[in-house]
């Protein structure tokens, strides 16, 4: 519960009345929209994005209510909230108790579901190998996800269904990877695995080493997966097996599939209008795609949409007014569209 309060207060503090409670909810939940991911960078809380993936609107509303009852936050109107003085003290206190683990990065690995996908592949592969190598061909899979089941089958086929060799090689890679982590994290990871001897444990059951907070245990577990991406990508040769688990979960996933298609057409020299026609999309959707591309494509070109002076103006107004509210910036720069302002703000990172 405490870790939950900590995350809520952190985000409320980062947003600092510049977005509605809905915006905060989307950040915590990791909504897959250009707005959310842009906010994540704009408010410099990108690591936190999607850290409460399973959060329901109802739980969120109840959570806010509790914070309000404790006197830690107060509502400014019905849609914005502010952290109070005692709330700020509480936030600092909790920040001494909880920290995001080393290597944890929500925007990179939670927002797009990369970490979740990697875990599904890993856990189902380990389970399947451990059962098959004991001659047990029928078992209830830990993942009901069809695509993951097909992926594991493909992996096995690629290795000519040589389960023994596969298991030993995977063991070696996992061993090497986990050795670089604290002992506590190694325990956490292996305890989550399911084999014939033992079913994986839930975060609730593993929370003891993490201040009895299942959510804190979960964040540490996700951090292990995030580090797995970094370690394996940085050293593919040392992780011949694990690197195969990253196939198809790559940088391109940072951009939604639809945005990728828009990008492809624009690179062919099409105009926004043409893309709109060709794909039958709304203008605002294409604009969202462009924001996404600006955030993630290293050589995205602003030129067709903004001049250098525009960007400078937007950033200076934003810093002068100490605001990220689009409406306030627009009042000062009426000649620019909301889209142009949003796009310019992607430069502020």
């Amino acid at each position: 519960m405490n870790c939950f309060n900590w995350l809520m207060l952190q985000l409320i503090n980062y947003i600092n009345e510049q977005r509605t409670i809905g915006g905060i909810y989307h950040l915590l939940k990791g909504k897959r929209s250009a707005q959310t991911i842009q906010d994540a960078y704009l408010f410099k809380c990108s690591e936190y994005v999607g850290s409460l993936k399973a959060l329901t609107r109802q739980d969120y509303t109840e959570g806010l209510k509790k914070l309000e009852d404790m006197g830690w936050i107060c509502f400014q109107g019905s849609e914005t909230i502010k952290i109070t003085e005692s709330g700020e003290r509480k936030r600092r206190e909790l920040s001494r108790q909880f920290q995001l683990p080393e290597g944890y990065d929500g925007a990179k690995y939670e927002w797009n579901g990369s970490a979740g996908l990697l875990w599904e592949r890993l856990s189902l592969t380990v389970q399947s190998l451990s059962f098959l190598n004991r001659g047990q061909t029928s078992f209830l899979p830990v993942s009901y996800h069809q695509e993951t089941q097909m992926w594991v089958k493909q992996l096995f086929k690629y290795h000519s269904n040589n389960y023994r060799v596969l298991a030993e090689r995977l063991h070696l890679d996992l061993y090497n990877f986990l050795t670089d982590l604290p002992e506590r994290e190694g325990n956490l990871f292996v305890n989550r695995l399911t084999s014939p001897m033992r079913t994986g444990k839930t975060f609730k059951q593993l929370s003891e080493a993490y201040q009895n907070d299942p959510l804190y245990a979960r964040i540490h577990f996700q951090a292990i997966l995030h580090r797995c991406f970094v370690s394996v990508k940085g050293n593919q040769g040392s992780y011949p097996m694990l690197s195969q688990f990253l196939f198809g979960i790559n940088e391109h996933q940072f951009v939604t599939k639809s945005a990728k298609e828009t990008s492809r057409l624009l690179k062919q020299g099409r105009t926004i209008e043409e893309v709109k026609m060709l794909r039958g999309l709304k203008h605002s959707t294409i604009e969202d795609h462009l924001i996404e591309l600006a955030l993630y494509e290293p050589n995205f070109s602003y030129k067709p949409y903004l001049t250098y002076q525009h960007i400078k103006d937007v950033l200076s107004v934003a810093s002068k007014l100490k605001t990220k509210k689009l409406r306030l910036i627009k009042e000062q720069l009426p000649q620019l569209s909301y889209f142009q302002i949003r796009l310019a703000l992607t430069k502020q990172r």
Partner: protein, 519 residues
């Protein structure tokens, strides 16, 4: 005549049928419509899985609960039948497309009622020969059953559109009223009815009334010293399930976990698997746990609240003793426990005032377009401030009484007459649910044999007497010996050792040498 027992051996690996299965399968194979009422744990799945393998054409299985469907499908697939597939709202668009494409006359398709009323699905399915149409947990189809869903009522249309294949309806709990309703709602033609007693002799029934909450808790732990594990403990709310698991742990029952519908899917699966593998032996849960879980050796089912109906009670205690061994169902309650189920009934149906408000808002409502699309409907739901379930119910009745069709809301029909109709309808539904609850309450308050009361409810006579039948026949927890559970905690060595155990065969362990390790 084919020898069914031989096929059972060769295709399913069982030596013999369990009581009732063979008769039902015979009737299904003769292509008649069949209604089968089989007690909990009697092996309903085989009644359609077996004919599906023999009959020409695809088998469609309509299943009421998503989680139940997923469990069933994965159990059948895990057991080796890869023709088993599912279509439901949990799948992505791509996955649905893939499944639809893959369908053929050998498929056994599990499908939710919502999906089966989808036009695209019906068209695809109609192109394949269909051998058998199965409705599982068919009591849900009847508005007198305990989990009535409006989506079910359109099933007979679907059945007709796909060419009226032979139909098999299965349930564990059906009063004669429900039985009639199932036949009517599914438009079954001169069905063969196989009804078997709901009585599960191996389940002993104990009910105890406690003075208050505190005494209930004391009594629970007193009973727990003698009730055999594995056990399922049912509470009325999620919060209570979580709290009870915590209390049990504090009292030294370390092999306990809670379970409810608000948990993530992964966590729910892990807890289910741990329970199936006897790694945990007590589950504190809401009614979300149990339907699809095939655990033969559950020895005790404990209710810490009063279930909303005798049907629900029978369904839930039926999760005990599937292996045929002796088991116990304990129901611990206080007078105050009636408040929660009564409140649930209250929430389910609109009051006269609410209904009036809805109608007056509707009459004054000026839709931006006379045509009804999903965004208009969403807007309307927001304006009326109705939760999802009641909204669906309202729409269903609007459709039924002609005030709504696929394109228009007919405002002129949203009148007093419709109001009266709906009000009367909801009133009688509420009465019915309340009545269901009163029936289980009077079963608990009565002095007569509980088993006899349950059987009477389903229109059965009790035959013969049972030793150790129920608490009204003289059975008490004192008749049970004290448990002697030594705490053999599943120890976790170190991650290094565990990881090696999982992945490396015994004779190759310890071979990780310095050269292959990174340093």
């Amino acid at each position: 005549m084919i020898n069914l027992t031989e096929l059972l051996k060769s295709k399913f690996g069982h030596d013999q049928f369990r009581p009732g299965q063979e008769e039902i399968i015979q009737s299904v194979l003769s292509k008649r419509d069949v209604l089968a009422i089989l007690p909990t744990g009697a092996g309903k799945t085989l009644c359609y899985h077996f004919p599906a393998k023999l009959m020409e054409g695809m088998t469609i299985v309509v299943s009421p609960l998503l989680s139940l469907m997923e469990d069933q499908v994965h159990q059948l697939r895990a057991a080796g039948d890869k023709n088993v597939v599912q279509l439901n709202g949990l799948l992505t668009f791509e996955e649905k497309k893939r499944i639809l494409r893959s369908l053929n006359k050998n498929s056994i398709l599990f499908i939710s009622p919502e999906m089966l009323t989808n036009d695209l699905v019906i068209r695809r399915v109609s192109g394949i020969q269909i051998g058998l149409f199965v409705v599982d947990e068919a009591h849900c189809i009847s508005q007198w059953g305990h989990e009535f869903r409006t989506d079910y009522l359109r099933l007979h249309e679907v059945k007709e559109r796909i060419g009226n294949p032979p139909c098999l309806a299965l349930t564990a709990t059906a009063t004669s009223q429900v039985e009639e309703d199932i036949i009517k709602k599914l438009a079954m033609e001169q069905p063969v009815i196989h009804r078997f007693s709901v009585n599960r002799k191996q389940i002993k029934l104990i009910t105890v009334e406690a003075f208050d909450k505190t005494e209930k808790l004391d009594l629970f732990f007193e009973h727990l010293k003698r009730l055999v594990k594995p056990a399922i403990i049912y509470t009325s709310t999620r919060k209570e399930a979580v709290a009870m698991a915590e209390t049990m742990k504090e009292k030294g029952y370390v092999d306990v976990a809670f379970y409810h519908g608000g948990m993530t899917k992964e966590d729910r699966l892990l807890i289910q698997h741990q329970f199936l593998n006897n790694e945990i032996n007590y589950i504190c849960s809401t009614n979300a746990f149990g339907m699809g879980i095939n655990k033969p050796n559950v020895r005790s089912v404990i209710h810490l609240h009063i279930p909303p109906s005798i049907e629900q009670y029978v369904q839930e205690i039926g999760r005990a003793g599937r292996d045929g061994q002796e088991s116990t169902a304990l129901l611990l309650y206080t007078k105050e426990d009636r408040a929660v189920p009564m409140a649930f009934i209250d929430q389910e149906f609109p009051t006269e005032r609410e209904l009036k408000t809805w109608f007056s808002v509707l009459k004054g409502w000026n839709p931006t377009t006379p045509l009804v699309d999903s965004s208009v409907m969403e807007e309307l739901q927001r304006v009326l401030f109705i939760d999802e379930t009641r909204w669906k119910m309202l729409l269903y009745y609007f459709r039924k009484f002609g005030a709504l069709d696929d394109k228009h809301i007919h405002m002129e029909r949203v009148n007093d007459q419709l109001f009266k109709k709906l009000y009367q309808h909801f009133l009688s539904r509420r009465k019915h649910k309340e009545n269901n609850f009163y029936q289980i309450e009077s079963l608990l308050n009565g002095k007569e044999c509980i088993r006899k009361g349950v059987l009477q409810y389903f229109g059965e006579e009790m035959t013969g007497t049972l030793k150790k039948c129920c608490s009204n026949c003289g059975l008490t927890i004192e008749n049970y010996p004290l448990n002697d559970y030594s705490q053999d905690e599943n120890t976790f060595a170190s991650w290094q050792e565990e990881l090696e155990n999982i992945l490396v065969p015994y004779n190759r362990r310890g071979l990780l040498n310095e050269t292959s390790r990174h340093n």
